[in-house]
Every structure is written in structure tokens, then in C-alpha cells.
């Protein structure tokens, strides 16, 4: 019998850490951009959205990896949708009960996690062909990779657009007295797109192998 692979071998670690940078779903694969632009005007909804997607991606991967040998090929996509939709509804209901204000801010975007390409993409590309534990790590990694970008954008946009972080004022009052004003453009969706562009630019200039010739 072959020796059991340790839980966090180099290969397993790569599954989880890869999507955080060199294989990031948002800034390298350009998936899930729509919600990344929509919910990042403030930091708090960005964090909650990142966590929600991570939970859904991880559990969807686990469940579908468990079911992978039983699913009839012809209704494969429908089964995936049913599982993802169930998880998303659960997250939505939990937010409504325990984080009502955030759930109001996120409004339809929680429900739209169902259509987030990252989740369906990871199930199709990974969970259906791999064992449970690697699938779980892959889901967590991709969810966090998405979340990291959301947090970076949420922090920049809230700090520059509203002068606050998580609702606390971080720009000192003295600066406002001096004539500084919040940049209202930061809160609008177009600026989110430009900001994603800047993040991609910085990321590629640090990881030269990602630049297409």
C-alpha cells in the first residue's frame, strides 16, 4: 500500500495558495468581475461577500466531489446548480437573520453568487475529478483569492471615497479643515473597474511570467 499523503503536502498547499496570487480567479482568470465591482464601495460588504463566496465554493466543491461518481453525466450541470443554489440560499437566510444590515447592502448580490463563474468553474474543472480534501482546499483557495481582491478594492474605495474604514473615520478631521475632500468618484462603479485594472497592472508587473507576449 502506498503511503498516505500528508494533509498539507506541497501539492495540497499549492491548491490553496495558488489562487491567492498567480492563479487568482479575479485578476488572472478575470472571473467574478461583476460582483467584485458591485459590492466593493465599502469594506464591510466586501469582506462578507468574500466570506460568503469562500463558504459556498468550499462546500459546493466538497459535496460535488463526494457525489462525483454517482452523478449521471446528462444532468451534471443541473445537479451542480441545485447544490450551489441550496448553499447560496442558506447563506442568504443566515445573513438575513444574523447580519441584517449587511444583507440589505448586498441585496441581490448574495443570490447572484449562484451565477458566479468562479464557483461553477471550480466544480467543473476540479471537484468532479478530484477527491474530497483537495477539492475542499481548492474551493477555499479560490474563494479567498476572490475575497482578497474584494478586500483590497473595498479598503481603497472606502478610504478614498468616504474617508472611513469599516465605518470608522481614518482621515483626520484636520485634513478636511485644510481643504481635503473625499473623492466621490471612488464610490461609483466605473472607478471600481479602473481600480481592478490598476491591481492587475501592479500584480503583472511583479509576476512577469503572467504577461502575455
Amino acid at each position: 500500500m502506498s503511503k498516505r499523503e500528508p494533509l498539507f503536502s506541497a501539492k495540497q498547499r499549492a491548491l490553496m495558495l495558488g489562487p491567492l496570487s498567480k492563479n487568482n480567479p479575479v485578476i488572472v482568470q478575470i472571473l467574478g468581475i461583476c460582483s467584485a465591482l458591485a459590492v466593493t464601495a465599502k469594506l464591510e460588504p466586501a469582506i462578507v461577500m468574500g466570506l460568503a463566496v469562500t463558504v459556498v465554493a468550499a462546500f459546493a466543491n466538497v459535496i460535488l466531489s463526494l457525489l462525483r461518481n454517482t452523478i449521471p453525466t446528462r444532468i451534471r450541470i443541473i445537479v451542480q446548480l441545485v447544490v450551489v443554489a441550496t448553499l447560496v440560499i442558506m447563506v442568504d437566510q443566515l445573513l438575513k437573520a444574523y447580519a441584517y444590515d449587511v444583507s440589505k447592502q448586498l441585496s441581490v448580490f448574495v443570490g447572484l453568487i449562484i451565477t458566479n463563474c468562479i464557483i461553477m468553474g471550480r466544480i467543473e474543472a476540479f471537484a468532479l475529478g478530484n477527491k474530497v480534501w483537495p477539492s475542499f482546499l481548492d474551493g477555499v483557495g479560490n474563494g479567498l483569492g476572490y475575497g482578497v481582491i474584494l478586500v483590497i478594492m473595498g479598503a481603497c474605495r472606502e478610504a478614498l471615497g468616504s474617508g472611513t474604514l469599516l465605518g470608522f473615520q481614518i482621515v483626520p478631521q484636520g485634513l478636511y479643515d485644510f481643504g481635503y475632500a473625499n473623492n466621490g468618484l471612488m464610490i461609483l462603479p466605473p472607478m471600481a473597474l479602473i481600480l481592478v485594472g490598476i491591481v492587475i497592472w501592479v500584480h503583472r508587473s511583479r509576476n512577469k511570467e503572467l504577461i502575455e507576449s
Binding site: 454517482t70 452523478i71 449521471p72 453525466t73 446528462r74 444532468i75 443541473i78 445537479v79 441545485v82 447544490v83 441550496t86 440560499i89 442558506m90 437566510q93 443566515l94 438575513k96 437573520a97 444574523y98 441584517y100 444590515d101
Partner: protein, 227 residues
């Protein structure tokens, strides 16, 4: 067993869906009491906001008990009828004619003076809009308003929730002597009359919705307001 056959596929789909439905039902029932409480707390928060009392959601129950001294339900003739004002479902009442509507009234005591808070419910551009309007003791001068919506366009129609729009209503009157005129929402920045406020630029249809809503609901409350 043939995992690609029709029988297996159909059974698989049925079992999966039934299982998922059961899980979700249990989950929803477990969380429902908490969700309902959140919605009720928000309603209390909105009612208080119409008389310019801003509280956090979890403190709304206590503040509601402190400021709201009376609540009752009236009919279109202005007579009191059975019922609790707080539990009247405005969405369900919205479609009915005035004569059949249950009309809730909340009375707040703000520094010794009575304010009448009336809920209003109508339709904006994309879906329902609702709110609370508070009147001074003369039942004609507006003290404060609060509006909310389910799906108006952010940045345009959704601006009805902002203080810039809501604040305009303060000190306007809904009666011209004995005649109910409600509040007109005018385009352009030239609303100087005591029965007019400025519409939201780019949110004309939602503004019209607010105007219609106020006209319809104040019409229903007319008999009560004249008493």
C-alpha cells in the same frame, strides 16, 4: 447499475430535489423568528425616524416604547376600529379601496407635543415604495418623513431615502384651509410653495410615485385628519 440510464437519472433527480427541499425548509423555519424580529425592529426604526428620532436597530424596541404613546387603527370615515396598528400589513392593504383599508395611526410624544405618524405605501418605477409621514398637532403641517423602496435605481430613484429629499417636506402643509391638497413634487429647483417640494433629477418617475402615494393615502386619512 447503469448510471447513465433514464431510470437512474430520473430517480437521482427526484431524490436530490426532495432532499434539498427538506433541508431548506428546516433551515428557513429555524431562522424565521430571528429574521422576523429584524424586520420588525427596522419598522420601528423607520417609524421613529419619521419623527426625527434616530436609533440603532437593536435599541429600537426600547425607544419605540418610550416615544410612541398610542397606536390605533382607523377606517376611511375616521372612526377607530379593532386592530393593532403595528401589525397591519401595508402591502396587503395597498391594493384595497380606501373604504376597505385598515389605516394605522401612531401617536408620538416629542418633548410634550403630539405627532401623528401615518404609514404610506405605493409604487415607484420598479416596485413598491413605502414610508411614514408625521404631522404636527394641527394634522396639516408635516414634521418629518421617511421613505424606503424595494428596487428603485441606485443614484436616481433610490435617492428618496436620503435626508436631502426627505428633509424638504418638513414644515410643508397638506391642507389649504379645509381642502386637502397633499404635496406636489415639482421638477426643477423652484418649489417655493407650502405644498410643494423638488423632485429628484433623473428620478422623475419615482418622484411621481411618491406624489401619488401621498395623495392616495392622505386622501384615505382625510376624514381622520379633519376630526
Amino acid at each position: 447499475m447503469n448510471k447513465q440510464g433514464n431510470t437512474y437519472t430520473v430517480i437521482y433527480a427526484v431524490v436530490l430535489v426532495v432532499l434539498v427541499a427538506a433541508v431548506l425548509s428546516v433551515f428557513a423555519m429555524w431562522l424565521q423568528p430571528r429574521q422576523r424580529e429584524n424586520i420588525e425592529d427596522e419598522k420601528r426604526q423607520n417609524i421613529l425616524s419619521s419623527v426625527k428620532i434616530e436609533v440603532k436597530r437593536d435599541a429600537s424596541k426600547q425607544a419605540f416604547g418610550k416615544y410612541i404613546v398610542e397606536q390605533f387603527v382607523v377606517n376611511a370615515k375616521g372612526e377607530r376600529v379593532e386592530g393593532t396598528a403595528f401589525t397591519v400589513d401595508l402591502a396587503a392593504q395597498g391594493a384595497k379601496a380606501c373604504e376597505d383599508k385598515l389605516l394605522p395611526v401612531f401617536v408620538a410624544d416629542i418633548k410634550g407635543s403630539r405627532k401623528y405618524i401615518l404609514p404610506v405605501y405605493g409604487y415607484g418605477l420598479w416596485g413598491p415604495i413605502w414610508g411614514y409621514i408625521s404631522l404636527n398637532e394641527d394634522k396639516s403641517t408635516i414634521y418629518g418623513t421617511v421613505f424606503d423602496h424595494s428596487g428603485e435605481t441606485p443614484g436616481l430613484g433610490a435617492e428618496i431615502t436620503l435626508p436631502e429629499f426627505r428633509g424638504q417636506f418638513a414644515d410643508k402643509t397638506v391642507f389649504e384651509q379645509d381642502k386637502l391638497v397633499s404635496i406636489h413634487i415639482k421638477k426643477g429647483k423652484n418649489s417655493s410653495g407650502v405644498h410643494e417640494v423638488d423632485a429628484i433629477s433623473g428620478g422623475t418617475l419615482t418622484s411621481k410615485g411618491v406624489e401619488e402615494m401621498l395623495k392616495a393615502y392622505l386622501g384615505c386619512y382625510e376624514a381622520f385628519l379633519k376630526k
